[in-house]
């Protein structure tokens, strides 16, 4: 099966590249392939490894001025074997300058990190802030339909996104090493007759468009499998994100600040009657209200005449992941510094040092080539 998938992807890649190379041809239906390749070296007291070789082609089709398809295939090796995944396949219809409708599997605007700032050549670090990667809070991709756009008012812009998706599904047992009360956010299919509704409203308050502040929320009234006692476990997730950059002439540098806080809460209606996993209790409540926070700052002497300094960037990030005691995990804090060297606008070499409260200290290097 895997061989067939690989073959199909190889054929897709080949045809897409072949078409993309015929630039500036006429006709409405135009395709291009972009994406990135990643490679990481990680070192600590007990391990030293080259790994996390990823190849993530993004296929973009412009069918007309209004119709557009974007799709990303992720080929990842971090788990020790080759994982091929459909990250997204999103069909868009640009209705008017203020409204775009879309359907498929897409990157939801829940916060600004996942699906946007986490991209290899946007993230100044080789990994995600704690609580913002897989196993953290919220989905990276969702399956459903949505509407989005930009509404300008005077010198201010409002960015909006609303969507209806399959949404999170509660994990009721600890089979397969799962954490009871955590969610499976990225299921391809639905587990009951309910849908999650979510959205993000962001504001660009300055006319120079260099500050974006967003508020996101997502809610689902039933997250459990249909017909089970925990079917009615409801969920509310919220996030606040900030993204700011400024060129500081006296320092000949560009400063970037990003941050995000996200939290989720299971509704108090989630009474669970004991079974093999909870034999000691007839009424069990999912205790599942984790939160995660990160703040990051980076500075790059973009105005320096020195070519080497000009391409150098220094970044610091603090992140914390507060996990419920019921998960049997402690809360994690993480401090990271990174030294990045830009080879091109989308190609970067990262050198990092990470100190996580639940791990020994790590050094890493990562190459990301966007294309």
């Amino acid at each position: 099966m895997k061989k067939i998938i690989t073959l199909v992807i190889a054929c897709m890649l080949y045809s897409a590249f072949a078409m993309a190379q015929t630039t500036d041809h006429f006709g409405l239906n135009n395709v291009a392939v972009f994406g990135d390749a990643e490679f990481t070296w990680a070192h600590n007291k007990t391990t030293d490894q080259f790994g996390d070789v990823n190849f993530k082609p993004i296929f973009l089709w412009k069918l007309s001025d209004k119709l557009f398809i974007e799709s990303e295939v992720e080929i990842e090796t971090g788990s020790g074997s080759v994982d091929i995944g459909l990250e997204y396949a999103n069909m868009c219809y640009i209705v008017n300058p203020y409204l775009t409708l879309h359907a498929g599997r897409f990157l939801p605007k829940f916060g600004a990190y996942r699906g946007r700032l986490a991209e290899g050549f946007l993230n100044r670090f080789a990994n995600d802030p704690v609580g913002f990667g897989d196993g953290g809070i919220g989905a990276s991709v969702e399956t459903g339909v949505g509407a989005m756009g930009c509404l300008p008012f005077g010198t201010v812009k409002f960015l909006y996104d609303v969507y209806v998706v399959n949404g999170p599904q509660i994990v009721p047992d600890s089979a397969n090493g799962n954490v009871v009360g955590q969610f499976d956010y990225e299921a391809y299919t639905a587990n009951n007759n309910n849908k999650a509704i979510g959205g993000r409203l962001a504001i660009l308050p300055f006319s120079s468009n260099n500050l974006e502040i967003g508020y996101s929320m997502q809610t689902k009234s039933k997250t459990g499998d249909i017909g089970t006692p925990y079917e009615n476990a409801s969920l509310l997730m919220q996030a606040i994100d900030l993204n700011y950059y400024k060129t500081i002439s006296p320092l000949k540098s560009t400063l970037r600040l990003t941050g995000e806080y996200r939290a989720q809460k299971v509704g108090s209606n989630t009474v669970y009657y004991g079974d093999a996993f909870h034999s000691d209790s007839m009424s069990f409540k999912f205790n599942n209200s984790p939160s995660a926070l990160y703040v990051s700052a980076s500075i790059r002497p973009t105005m320096s005449d020195n070519k080497f300094l000009h391409n150098l960037e220094i970044a610091y990030r603090y992140s914390s992941f507060m996990q419920p005691a019921a998960w049997g995990a402690t809360s994690i804090t993480c401090n990271e510094v990174a030294l990045d060297y830009w080879l091109k606008w989308n190609c970067v070499m990262k050198l990092g040092y990470q100190k996580r409260s639940d791990m020994i200290q790590n050094f890493y290097a990562q190459f990301v080539y966007g294309f």
């Binding site: 135009n30 973009l60 868009c92 991209e119 005077g154 959205g199 974006e212 993204n243 989308n346």
Partner: protein, 89 residues
């Protein structure tokens, strides 16, 4: 369920705003050049790719991708693309 009602309300409000086409931009914003908008919007999340980085066809495609990813308005993205294409002469 209360939350979903709020979302539906917000959605309805946004949609009616769109329908009544009440959006307007101040003159200082409308007068912005493609070069300025390119510098401001692209740099918000990543280093702005230089004009001449891609072919004209590819710029059109990239523009749609970024319009969806970063909620950039059609008027502004069109100005950005015109600027970027102007280096491919």
């Amino acid at each position: 369920m209360k939350q979903s009602k709020i979302i539906i309300f917000v959605f309805a409000a946004v949609m009616s705003a769109v329908l009544f086409n009440s959006c307007y931009v101040s003159k200082s914003i409308a007068d912005k050049s493609g070069a300025q908008l390119w510098a401001e919007h692209c740099n918000r999340c990543h280093n702005a790719p230089g004009p001449g980085e891609f072919s004209n066809t590819n710029w059109d495609i990239v523009a749609m991708h970024m319009q969806v990813r970063a909620n950039i308005g059609t008027d502004e993205i069109n100005k950005i693309v015109d600027f970027l294409k102007a280096a491919n002469n």
